[in-house]
């Protein structure tokens, strides 16, 4: 599809544990259009977060991607992330795709200040721009006659960098602790940028927060810093992995509003991973429902809530607690993915299960416009 910024096709991922092979993702098919927010919902352990990590190709061992394709549109060209070298992936991570973590406190390194951690991304991906700015500043200083001997030396290094960033002399220089100080002006510029980012995150008094350590920040503030890190290079795709689960309810709302506003401001597309249907209704344009490692239904957010087609989606919506009605839950438990059920993985909990459901797995098919379902109830083969 032409306007897909990211598309995942038949993604398979296994975890090789001591108990056996966990088939965590079993043919995930998703697509993210430019500028939209795609919600991924499902129970714990259905593969939501792992899908997010796979897009960045940073699935920690023992997880291993076994097959499939992930296409990302970079400057108008589709590239398959799974076939790329690490060097290229490192440039994509953080610049084109970035991730907001679930627990902001553990996603920040305790030994560095909030500013340091934003500066790290900026220096990694926006070096050229920062060096240009640093040069401008040095020129100003030289013009006003304040520049010292060192500043002039830094200027030479920066100019050299702009000419040939991979020059041997620079590579050697960047490894020597004291000579490396030429990064100072660069980092200073990056710090200004970091302060600006924090202000965009609606953090009061960003000049002070920039120098604060993670343990000095409240949960909401920490999450804003994490979002600032993720958005520092205005990525095309932002993956938010349950960013509000560990926060207070009031702070949750602030963060949700923030993400929604920033999405417009940075013109990113968002994948929002959550298990909270309320948040989905609030945030998303389209929803993909996942169950036991595959996408069982995906459709526009209104379609999902008004006309859910897959039995699992229906059950999920019915199990949202409502005041005055008895509490309902889905019968049975999530199957073990070491020995997943044959056929459709939901068939042993499904009210409408047929014989064929236990035998073969249904294909995901477009039953209505933009409404995909993976179920024999809505499948011509099922008759």
């Amino acid at each position: 599809m032409a306007d897909d910024i990211l598309s995942i096709d038949d993604l398979r991922l296994n975890f090789y544990t001591y108990e056996g092979v966990v088939e965590a993702l079993d043919g995930v098919k998703l697509s993210l259009r430019k500028g939209e927010t795609l919600g991924i919902v499902g129970e714990t352990g259905c593969g939501k977060s792992v899908t997010g990590l796979s897009v960045l190709v940073i699935v920690p061992p023992p997880g291993k991607i076994e097959g499939g394709k992930i296409f990302l549109k970079v400057k108008g060209k589709d590239i398959d992330l799974l076939g790329q070298r690490q060097a290229i992936l490192r440039r994509i991570r953080g610049e084109y795709i970035s991730l907001i973590f679930q627990d902001p406190r553990s996603a920040l390194n305790p030994v560095y200040t909030a500013g340091d951690q934003i500066i790290e991304v900026l220096v990694h991906h926006r070096r050229k721009e920062l060096i240009r700015r640093a040069l401008e500043r040095i020129d100003k200083e030289i013009a006003s006659g304040k520049a010292g001997f060192l500043t002039k030396y830094y200027k030479k290094i920066y100019q050299k960098w702009l000419e040939s960033p991979r020059a041997l002399s620079l590579q050697i220089l960047s490894k020597i602790p004291i000579a490396r100080r030429y990064n100072r002006i660069l980092k200073d510029e990056a710090k200004k940028e970091a302060t600006k980012m924090l202000r965009i995150m609606r953090i009061p008094d960003p000049e002070r927060v920039v120098d604060m350590y993670p343990h000095e920040l409240s949960g909401g503030m920490a999450q804003r810093v994490v979002i600032a890190i993720a958005l520092a290079c205005s990525p095309e795709v932002l993956i938010a992995d349950e960013p509000t689960t560990n926060l207070d309810v009031t702070v949750q709302l602030q963060i949700l509003n923030l993400i929604r506003e920033l999405k417009e401001e940075f013109s990113s597309s968002v994948i929002y991973v959550t298990h909270d249907m309320g948040v989905v209704a609030e945030m998303c344009d389209r929803v993909a429902v996942m169950y036991a490692g595959s996408v069982v239904e995906s459709a526009g957010v209104l379609d999902i809530f008004k006309r859910p087609l897959h039995p699992y989606t229906r059950a999920l919506l019915e199990s949202i607690p409502r005041p005055g009605t008895p509490f309902k839950s889905i019968e049975g438990t999530v199957p073990s993915l070491i020995n997943p059920p044959s056929g459709c993985r939901f068939h042993n909990r499904c009210r409408f299960a047929m014989d064929i459901c236990a035998k073969t797995k249904p294909e995901i098919a477009e039953v209505e416009k933009d409404h995909f379902v993976q179920c024999y109830l809505h499948h011509s083969l099922g008759e």
């Binding site: 990590l53 490192r90 991570r93 679930q102 030994v111 991304v121 990694h124």
Partner: protein, 374 residues
């Protein structure tokens, strides 16, 4: 970073034991630095050699006058702490022994620490086969009692270590030539140049050296005295401990979200290890190192006492005690007549080790991340 340092100093001031530790250690630092002032060497060419006042076997008590006219001419008048067997001056040995103690303690710990940091990081972060090989290797070393292994190594290590500049030159040239060519041919840069260098070493340099013999350009032999051998042996015994501790810490921190976050912003493996994991993993080894400086000196003293440590007459506390071996017990009428031969160097060792232990304990309290800022 500076704030952290100030905070550490503030915490340190509040703990009295750490102050005692710092005072003791800095006392020895002063002694070591001022050794030429406190005990001017009789033979300036070899200041570590303890001067001896004749060769008489029986130790003489503190305050005995110096008899040798040459030593008298250098300004020495009295044996402040008496003399040991062979009329070695105990005061001189104790003062210059402080330098030996620091050299052994700090160098051995520094070498083991660096080796542990590098190998532990590789082992813990990358895991797999490298981890398995390194860990089994540390197991082998840890399976032997440290002192026994150190003894065996001191005896087994050769005294002369030939350094053949011809061979080094051939190997270096194998790498430098591809790099120089790389300046003109961009296709041969970076990794490719290194690989070509390896290929030249394997295909050309090694056969050349083994078949034709090493080229006769500048072969010097590094002459290790027995103290250097002690140093090498103790470092060889010490590194597995650090490697294991660092590996364990890295395995723990590798699981943290912020490491994954660093990967998610595109940081490279080396950057993740150096910038994100090691600063969080370093505290236990800092504590371990400061405790180990004391115990390493103790181990070296034990080796010297057994007679395989420092060379004869070298300023070393352990050796001074070994000179007292025959004079500890002198019969029931006057049991500890020669107490100064072993008590005085013993006190030096004891206080030195105590100082480092107190400092290590203080570090443990101050740097423990679970107690910090509570």
């Amino acid at each position: 970073m500076l704030d952290e340092f100030k905070f550490t100093l503030k915490r340190m001031r509040k703990s009295p034991l750490s102050i005692v530790g710092i005072v003791i250690v800095s006392f020895f630092v002063v002694i070591a630095i001022l050794a030429p002032v406190l005990a001017p060497p009789v033979d300036p060419r070899d200041p570590y050699a303890i001067f001896h006042d004749g060769y008489g076997p029986t130790p003489r008590p503190p305050g005995s006058p110096i008899l040798d006219s040459f030593i008298l001419s250098t300004g020495w008048k009295v044996h402040y702490f008496g003399t040991a067997e062979g009329q070695l001056d105990i005061y001189y040995g104790c003062i210059w022994g402080a330098r030996t103690a620091f050299r052994i303690g700090v160098l051995v710990v520094a070498i083991s620490l660096v080796a542990g940091l590098v190998l532990g990081s590789i082992s813990g972060y990358f895991g797999g086969v490298i981890d398995e090989i390194l860990m089994r290797f540390t197991d082998i070393i840890l399976a032997f009692p440290g002192l026994i292994l150190a003894m065996a190594l001191v005896i087994a290590l050769p005294r002369l270590w030939p350094i053949e500049f011809g061979v080094i030159g051939i190997v270096a040239a194998s790498f430098i030539v591809p790099m120089v060519i790389g300046f003109f041919y961009p296709k041969l840069r970076g990794k490719r140049a290194v690989i070509l260098g390896f290929a030249i070493v394997v295909a050309f340099a090694i056969p050349y050296v083994y078949v034709l013999g090493s080229p006769p350009i500048y072969t010097i032999a590094l002459d290790l005295n027995s103290l250097d051998k002690v140093l090498i042996a103790l470092a060889l015994v010490g590194w597995p401990g650090y490697t294991r501790v660092i590996r364990g810490e890295i395995l723990r921190i590798k699981q943290e979200d912020y490491v994954e976050a660093a990967r998610a912003i595109g940081a490279s493996d080396i950057r993740i290890i150096v910038r994100h994991i090691l600063p969080n993993a370093i505290y236990p080894v800092v504590i371990m190192a400061s405790l180990d400086i004391g115990s390493t000196v103790l181990l070296a003293a034990a080796l010297s006492f057994l007679g395989i440590g420092s060379p004869l007459g070298y300023s070393d506390w352990g050796q001074m005690i070994s000179y007292a071996r025959n004079w500890v017990w002198t019969g029931f009428e006057n049991p500890w007549q020669f107490w100064y031969t072993f008590i005085i160097p013993g006190v030096f060792i004891f206080i030195f080790v105590l100082g480092w232990n107190l400092l290590g304990d203080a570090f443990r309290d101050i740097l423990d991340p679970t107690l910090r800022r509570k």
